[in-house]
Symmetry: none
Subunit: 415 residues, 2 copies
């Protein structure tokens, strides 16, 4: 079943409001095994006419949002009636609901609201308990080549309950029992690039039947999604687990910070942080995970050398001799953080975010990261990841969190 989404709203094209409709529908439809073939945003003008005309022959379902308001630029109802050659009829049930809606709020109903009660012949009214504009469902007419049309309100607060309660169940009904949704499985991978993964895996998975791969890369993390029959997914998953044992953060969409908080909670252990160039982002990321207060008690942001000495006990001579951005200093930061915080694990970073501060030996983008854990040798590593300041901080944060994730997952760290 082919589905398209059409979002009407000038504000969506001016950068004033982010269009979250496509993402919401995408996620909900995916669970039904449906994909959106195309999503189009148009202004509040008669572009709706062209867009529907183009979409009618190539799709089975169109979800339209917006253009159901009471003002004169809300023309979705009129255009649809005209295109289908149906009359617009005043629906007394809607008029009564609108009156009640306004009465309840102590307002008088404006005469322009009556436009919202005009319904194309043959349409089913979709109740909107959260606003004034009811939705409309116009069933497909095979002989006329028109798809199923859902006309839905624009505000997410009205749209989402209506979709969940009325639209999705109708779609399941239209799909029929023979089209039960496909299964899918997600691998979240860190430490291997999207193209390297594709180059490596695609030949190995080629022979598996009806397997579809989806990739999504973000900040060095790759979501690899397998879609297809369960047997094919199982077969592919075994191969992927063998190839990326170390790099798989989660077989789900769990974030790396949430994985860390979960692994630490399971072991009743804690982590503390000592950050220079990331400026608090590692602590900030860990504390984004619910439940982090059980495993994270404190963090030090030691931007200045004096703070590294005072708060972490890094010897001033070490900084003078090797520089604040050095293997020696980052190890001392991690070890000082471990000792002073009493935590079971301590993460430390020191690097050059730029734009200033680089040298020939240590250019902007150079960073040293370290993990000290009770009863283990301190691990440290130099990385070079030049980028703008904010991206640099993000990348270093993930590199550092992944050290702890690998350690907690039982891997020997690789220098």
């Amino acid at each position: 079943m082919r589905v398209e989404v059409v979002n009407i709203g000038t504000e969506l094209l001016l950068g004033k409001v982010t269009n979250t409709h496509a993402g919401y529908f995408g996620e909900e439809l995916f669970k039904l095994g449906l994909r959106i073939q195309r999503q189009t945003t148009i202004p509040d003008d008669d572009a709706i006419r062209t867009v529907l005309k183009e979409a009618f022959p190539r799709t089975d379902v169109i979800l339209v949002t917006g253009g159901l308001g009471p003002t004169s630029d809300d023309i979705t109802r009129e255009v649809v009636a005209e295109m289908l050659g149906r009359k617009l009829i005043l629906d007394q049930g809607i008029v009564d609901d609108l009156k009640a809606f306004f009465d309840n709020r102590g307002y008088e109903m404006s005469s322009s609201n009556e436009r919202q009660a005009m319904v194309p012949e043959g349409a089913v009214v979709l109740d909107n308990p959260n606003g004034t504009a009811p939705g409309l469902y116009v069933p497909a007419v095979e002989s006329e080549g028109t798809p199923h049309l859902f006309l839905l309100p624009g505000p997410p607060r009205e749209l989402r309950p209506m979709t969940a309660n009325l639209v999705l169940p109708k779609l399941v009904e239209l799909l029929g029992p023979e089209n039960a949704p496909e299964t899918w499985h997600n691998f979240r991978i860190y430490g291997a690039g999207e193209s390297a993964i594709a180059d490596n895996l695609e030949p190995k998975l080629e022979s598996i039947e009806n397997l579809e791969l989806g990739y999504c890369a973000r900040l060095g993390e790759v979501d690899l999604r397998l879609i297809g029959p369960q047997q094919s997914i199982d077969q592919a998953a075994d191969i992927i687990r063998a190839e990326y044992a170390r790099e798989i953060i989660a077989e789900s969409e769990e974030s790396i910070e949430s994985v860390i908080v979960r692994l630490l909670s399971d072991r009743h252990e804690t982590v503390a942080t000592a950050e220079s160039c990331t400026g608090g982002q590692i602590a900030n990321t860990i504390t984004n995970a619910a439940g982090s207060s059980g495993v994270f008690h404190r963090g030090y942001v030691t931007y200045a050398n004096s703070a590294k000495a005072e708060l972490l006990g890094v010897p001033a001579e070490l900084i003078v001799k090797h520089g604040a951005v050095s293997d020696e200093v980052v190890r001392a930061m991690a070890e000082g953080c471990l000792a002073r915080s009493g935590a079971d694990h301590a993460l430390a970073v020191s690097g050059i975010a730029g734009p200033g501060g680089g040298s020939e030996e240590k250019p902007v983008g150079t960073v040293f990261i370290a993990l000290a854990s009770k009863g283990h040798d301190t691990f440290s590593k130099r990385h070079f990841t030049p980028a703008d300041r904010i991206s640099f901080k993000m990348r270093v944060t993930r590199l550092t969190l992944d050290l702890l994730r690998q350690h907690l997952a039982g891997f020997q760290l690789i220098a």
Copy 2:
């Protein structure tokens, strides 16, 4: 000049990633006096062919994002070359740049990356310092009825600098001097809502000729953009400055952290942070601004009570008596931070991010924030801003930074 936007990316239709491209382009084009006529999202498949074919005759410019990656589903280059009847040519400059990009990071270039160096004849390469996929600009050919095509990378971190540095200037050039964008002026306002600003200002600005107002709200910050002839802008700006003297962060698009770093640098002063519920986000935000190392030397993330006592000297009795989330404790945190860090200003926060930890007296969303400054009485304030954990942290971070901004800008803080 008619502009359309086409976003390619299966993930944008699966709800995994929110499509922020349309909003970004909408905002930037608005500054040039251009509006997006239509925005379309399609999966990584050959839908790009149909979409471009439909768009060619009805528009002057198409901005395409995505589909420039190294994998086999990235076919934008091929489709465009085919539709324009041009050959794809290996661009040695791109190959060299790609090799350097991977060399710098200590990786070997994958053979699939070579696809990214294939360029349709006659296209102009748009440099991408932030990723592997260069952009391409294919000028319009009037005799063939093809519009100006910009093929751009999908990741915002790559797309946005490329758009700002290369695409927008080219659009200005294409517009020509007779269509030079109108002047505009931005006010960044914090502490007043978008609709409240509109209700207040619009009657006052109504009589000013040819003045257009644009709003963009984000995290409590509102960008209010004035567009029109210089004289009208000047007239309106005077009124806005009088109405929102305290709330104007900047008359530009400068971030609040950058404003703070600039004001502190001017005064040769420093700030330190003591964070509980924000978990390092205040320090992280300050250190996002270039030059922050001159004014920010250290931060404390004191999530656990023991950390508040040890690192900031908050008396344990105070925490027992009033609770960690209290006016008394947040003031002690700020004052302890000021004394121990030696900074000129200290910001402190303690609150309940949730989902757990709330009580009837102090429900989830309650937060106390404080500013201690040398030679000033400590200021503190209770706020209630219930939201999901991550939004809560962001809002509290901005509330707290704005305390310091107001203080540095010379305003008496209002309890």
